[in-house]
Symmetry: C2
Subunit: 275 residues, 2 copies
């Protein structure tokens, strides 16, 4: 498992052409694209730019937010995201499912909403040949970002649909703590649509959304998680996705170089086991 993909969020200050150029300069052959910079540049133009650079798109980030009050708007936006995923020929559309609706404390209801909206989107994804990737989020985000809190829960949902159309994301930051992880990654098998890496650092930065660390700066045993995912049969890209204000302030080429170095040291197959 050596195929590093640069998730665009790791170089958050870059436009799409700048992120593509940074990949090319560093010899990175895959990219995880975010919708906002894609929209800024234009979807068709962006798809052409990426294809000309010879980059593979490991994911489009992101659809989701299924629990928002305006259901029609949720469906319209997610169908558009599915079309964009098809335009980029991306491996999957990452879905961050959303937190509790404003004013609600009904977590089971929010989770039921997620299942309903997913079912509504599946036919369009199947039509476009797009794979939806449910991302279980760390429980720290259950209230405000994602009521899908464990890989097991994501699989319970995904398994109601064709594996070619609904898979899951395994993101080390979100799942590393899970005592049931070994069993659930094995269960996930060919449902694993994306494998993302970044570290869990302490003390947790003040803004919980920007709490993700470069590999090796925190507590995650990447080798163990990469081995689990490989044993489950996953052979796709490994995306480095880091939300961190300090990383975002650095020069993007420096960040990309650090990503490549720490990826080789902590994640890719040649690395020795960390303790």
């Amino acid at each position: 498992m050596n195929r590093l993909s640069l998730n665009q969020k790791t170089v958050d200050s870059c436009s799409l052409p700048e992120a593509v150029a940074a990949c090319t300069r560093a010899g990175i052959t895959s990219i995880g694209v975010w919708r906002e910079p894609l929209h800024e540049y234009g979807v068709e133009a962006g798809a052409a730019l990426i294809a000309e650079a010879g980059l593979h798109v490991s994911s489009l980030c992101r659809g989701g937010f299924f629990t928002a009050p305006d259901r029609d708007r949720v469906l319209t936006d997610n169908r558009r995201a599915i079309d964009e995923t098809a335009a980029l020929n991306a491996d999957c559309l990452v879905l961050v499912v959303g937190g509790l609706p404003p004013g609600s404390r009904d977590l089971p209801a929010a989770r039921a909403t997620v299942a309903d909206v997913l079912a509504d989107l599946v036919p369009h994804a199947a039509d476009r040949g797009v794979r939806l990737a449910l991302e279980p989020m760390h429980p720290i985000y259950a209230a405000d970002r994602g009521v899908l809190s464990t890989l097991g829960q994501a699989l319970d949902l995904a398994e109601q649909h064709d594996p070619a159309v609904v898979g899951v994301v395994v993101d080390t930051f979100h799942v590393w703590w899970d005592p049931d992880l070994e069993r659930q990654v094995a269960r996930a098998a060919d449902r694993i649509a994306s494998f993302q890496v970044c570290d869990w650092i302490t003390p947790l930065p003040a803004d919980a959304l920007l709490a993700r660390g470069m590999m090796g700066d925190g507590h995650i045993d990447f080798r163990r998680l990469a081995d689990l995912v490989a044993a489950a049969g996953y052979t796709g890209d490994v995306e480095v996705e880091i939300f961190n204000a300090d990383v975002w302030r650095e020069d993007p080429d420096t960040v990309v170089a650090t990503v490549a170095r720490t990826f080789a040291e902590h994640v890719s197959a040649g690395a020795t086991s960390s303790r």
Copy 2:
């Protein structure tokens, strides 16, 4: 389920006599005691003070930190905590099991250590008639406070021992997000040694250790969780335990009054369901 207990940490500025007096003034009949203020006052004197005030001790907080490098010290300190629990005639000794040992990323090994140390302590607890209460902690603390991350995981461990000697804590803050909660609380049944309440607030305060809110200030549906715990057969005290710098700055009598009011509104049996 109406028996409010004031966990001493909620009035962190109070000495033991001050906390006892605050309970008495407010008509609260149970207290959750912390070891540090108990040691300051003296264990025997503290036990006498609490008995004279007619208070029941719902828990002693806390033993644990099993993953610390010096095993002998861990065992000695925890046996002492067990003795203190017996001296107070407390319902249980709450165990915060500890995070990853310094420099380690081996989460499975840390979890195995927890099981080993627990097994070493069980005979002493049984001798003293003390119930150990394993506290699953929110995954936000997996690296640095508690590698026991779910109620299911705590039960897997507890079930290796006599339920009279090893139970679990259900703390709303730590478990509210768990998609498997309904099933695990039912499974816990007479293993539930303590039920603690406080709210999950957003945005998460900068210090993750002080992120707990007064009931009603956050996203937790206390009524639902209290109903699950009651349905599982728990009839003991309900401890309000709030780590929060803003709460700690307030006058303790004001805090206790707010606790009693929000408890009645959001937690106790007479409350109507919150949405």
